[in-house]
Structure formats: structure tokens, C-alpha cells
Symmetry: C2
Subunit: 237 residues, 2 copies
């Protein structure tokens, strides 16, 4: 729920929409509440749960009469079922969006690399959601995760994506060296870091923020072909 | 109310906020309704008024319990008084934000250049709001506006800011050639065009999207120092 990742997510929704003028773009309501409790502390260290504030955000979105919810944060998907149940509307799962991207762009790939917060890895959000598929997951060693991935996420959240870029590149290279076929940037701050340094590694990775944006645009396009344009929604970041 | 300008505006709010972690960023609700009627058609050609849909957006924002409204679109300020009255809360005016920027960065400048939609120019949004100050305004000749400024705005709305960049540069150079001291990018699509080509002319201009973002961050920071963090809001784009 980093605000820079949310801004990036909305930009990617716009970029992924085929439109010749403003009126052909998708109506979106974004509820960005960055003062929500830290997700990683809640999962790993019994910190305050972010769920009550996430459900507040869902309430605000429901009052805005949206038709679909997107959460541009991998770790927050730990509470996916609760959000889905409370909203009573479609909530597109970021791991499903990544799976669609894998099938479209890398149909034969089986060895996936995961870069994300320690809590996303510990909660096995990807492994559980993709359990029925025949994927093998590789993650960086703890020291490398701390010095490169966790540090890079912090830097992006502090508004320094360029400084984060080189760190993420190191972590991606390590995974490729270990035989990973497709590295997944399973924290929405990480694509921002690679983009900031115009990294040649970015096209080899799955950008989970862009994958979710594509899934949202595809959902809205399907609805639009049926009836009036829907209100798609990004929550919360 | 171009969606790419809205995404850019939110990014600039994040960039202009001094924060060491997510929780120090400003809560923001963005209501982006790009299917709102065209503002220029309404002002120049008796087209449908966008005001009813703008007021719908104000309603959604009020339901989200925001404390302040920002409109990242110059032309939409034609309906500023109506939005202000309907919301009953602070609505920061983009021209006031530009004026603050002029006073801070170019205190001696008197000859300003205006690049914007034909409707922003025809409605004299800047000239009226700044009437009590001793500024002289210069605009491009009609043929140049049509071929460079209007075309560039269309290109950004179509997701092609790089193609727009060279056109905006030509229009800015023409104004400088005519003796303008500070060109004002009085349409929030225009800074995106200059940024996309990494233009050396950008720092010489006022980016109205960034000026409004700074005003919003300054407003939220003042509120925060008094009490709990407020909900600042961007509408509607």
C-alpha cells in the first residue's frame, strides 16, 4: 500500500486502456490510505491488524458505487477473503493476474522466482494460490533479501526508486543465476525500482502491478461490452 | 480531467510529500470520471455541461469524508465556484497555486505566457483570477495553438506524451521569443509532454499540476500540525 506504487498502478491502468479520448477511459475511484498499519508487522510480529482500516476503505469504495475492487499490494492479499466477503463484489486477486500473465507470456515456464516482502514470502501467498499448478518457487537467501529486496522496498517508499533499482537488479540476477525462468516482482514497489533505472531486466520479470492493471482493464472492457461503463476501483494504498 | 494527468498529479503529491515510510504519506481519495462531458465543448460550443457529473464526483468525495478538494484540470476551474459552493469545504484553486509558485520562484516576473486549451484561454481563467496583480499575458497565435498546443493535449490523452513533447517545446520557444519571462503550462497534460522528452525547457515553465500538488501537500501539512491527518482529495479526472 505504498502511495508511489498506487500512483504507478493507476498510470498502468491508463496505459493499458485503449482509448482515443478521455471519455473512452475507465472510471476509477482510488482510496489511498497510507496511514494503515504495516502489513508485514501484522503478519510476522503480531502488530496491529490493517484489516479494520482496509474494511473502512472498502466501505468508502462501496459508497462510491464501484463494481469491482483491485488491491495494488501483494502483502495485503493475506486478507483477500475478508475483503471479498465484506464487499460482496468481484475482487481481482493479484496472483490470478500474475498467473494469466505467465500463461500468456511464458506458457512453458515452471521455475519461478519470488521477490517480495518477508511477510508475502512467509505467508506463502503465491505458493498457496498456485498450489494446483506445477510451479517450483525459488527465493533469495535471507541475507540477500534483507540487503537488496527489503532495502529496495524501503527506498521506493521513501521516494528514492533510482537508488533502489540497482539493488533489485542484483536480487533478480541472483535468481536467474540459480536457474529461475521467470522472476516475479511480488511487491508493487519493485517494478518502480527497475523502471527508474530503465533496467534491461524488467522485461524478463513479471511486474505484478502491471499484471493487476491489465486484469482490471480486461474486466472493465468485458463489462463495457455488455452494458454501461462500470466503475473499477483501486483500494487502498 | 485527462486520466494520465490525474495519475501524474497523484505521483506529484507523493513526490512533494516528505515521508520516511507509508504511514507519513497523506491519505487521498481520487475520483477519476473521464467519461464526463468535454469541458471545451461546453464552454466554446454550447455542448453538454460537465457540471452535473462534477457535482456527482463531489458527492462521492464528501461521502468518503474528505476535508479538501483539488481539481487537477485547469479548464474545469470554469466551474470552480459551483464546486466550492456544493462541497462546503476548501477547494484549492489551481491559479492561486500557480500564483504562489510565481511569487516563490519568479518574484520579479511580469510577462507570463499561457499554454492551455482554447476554452481556458477564451474563459480568461488566469487573467480574471490574477486581475489584481500586475501581470501581462501572452498566448500563441491561433494557428500555432491549433497545430502545437491543442494537438499535444490530444496526443497525451491518447497515451502518446513523447510525440507531444516536441510540439510543446515549439510552442514554449515561440513564447520565449516573444519576450515571455515565465511560460505557464496551463493544461495539466502539457507537463507530461515535456517530461516525456526530458525537456530542458520544463524547469523554465510553471507546471500547474505540480503547483497544485504542492499547494495540496502544504495544506495537508498545516492541518496535520494542528490535529489528525486529514483526507485530501483529488477530483475528478
Amino acid at each position: 500500500m505504498g502511495p508511489l506504487a498506487t500512483a504507478d498502478f493507476y498510470r498502468k491502468i491508463v496505459e493499458e486502456t485503449s482509448a482515443a479520448c478521455d471519455q473512452e477511459h475507465i472510471p476509477v475511484v482510488i482510496c489511498s490510505l497510507p496511514d494503515i498499519p504495516c502489513r508485514t508487522s501484522a503478519i510476522l510480529r503480531d502488530g496491529s491488524s490493517p484489516l479494520p482500516r482496509m474494511l473502512d476503505a472498502v466501505d468508502k469504495l462501496m459508497q462510491s458505487e464501484v463494481d469491482c475492487i483491485l488491491i495494488p499490494c501483494n502483502t495485503a492479499h493475506y486478507w483477500y477473503n475478508e475483503v471479498r466477503q465484506a464487499s460482496g463484489m468481484p475482487v481481482l486477486h493479484i496472483v490470478d493476474a500474475v498467473h494469466e500473465e505467465l500463461q500468456a507470456r511464458h506458457p512453458g515456464a515452471r521455475r519461478l522466482g519470488l521477490l517480495g516482502t518477508e511477510s508475502t514470502l512467509a505467508a506463502r501467498i503465491y505458493q498457496q494460490r498456485l498450489a494446483e499448478h506445477d510451479y517450483a518457487f525459488t527465493i533469495n537467501k535471507p541475507a540477500m533479501r534483507e540487503a537488496y529486496v527489503v532495502r529496495a522496498i524501503e527506498l521506493v517508499k521513501q521516494g528514492q526508486p533510482k537508488q533502489a533499482g540497482k539493488l533489485v537488479e542484483q536480487a533478480v540476477r541472483q535468481l536467474l543465476h540459480e536457474g529461475v525462468e521467470v522472476p516475479i516482482l511480488a511487491c508493487t514497489e519493485l517494478p518502480l525500482a527497475l523502471e527508474a533505472v530503465d533496467s534491461p531486466l524488467l522485461p524478463m520479470c513479471i511486474d505484478t502491478n502491471r499484471a493487476l492493471a491489465r486484469a482490471g482493464v480486461a474486466w472493465a472492457t468485458r463489462q463495457r461490452s455488455r452494458r454501461r461503463p462500470p466503475l473499477a476501483i483501486a483500494l487502498p494504498s
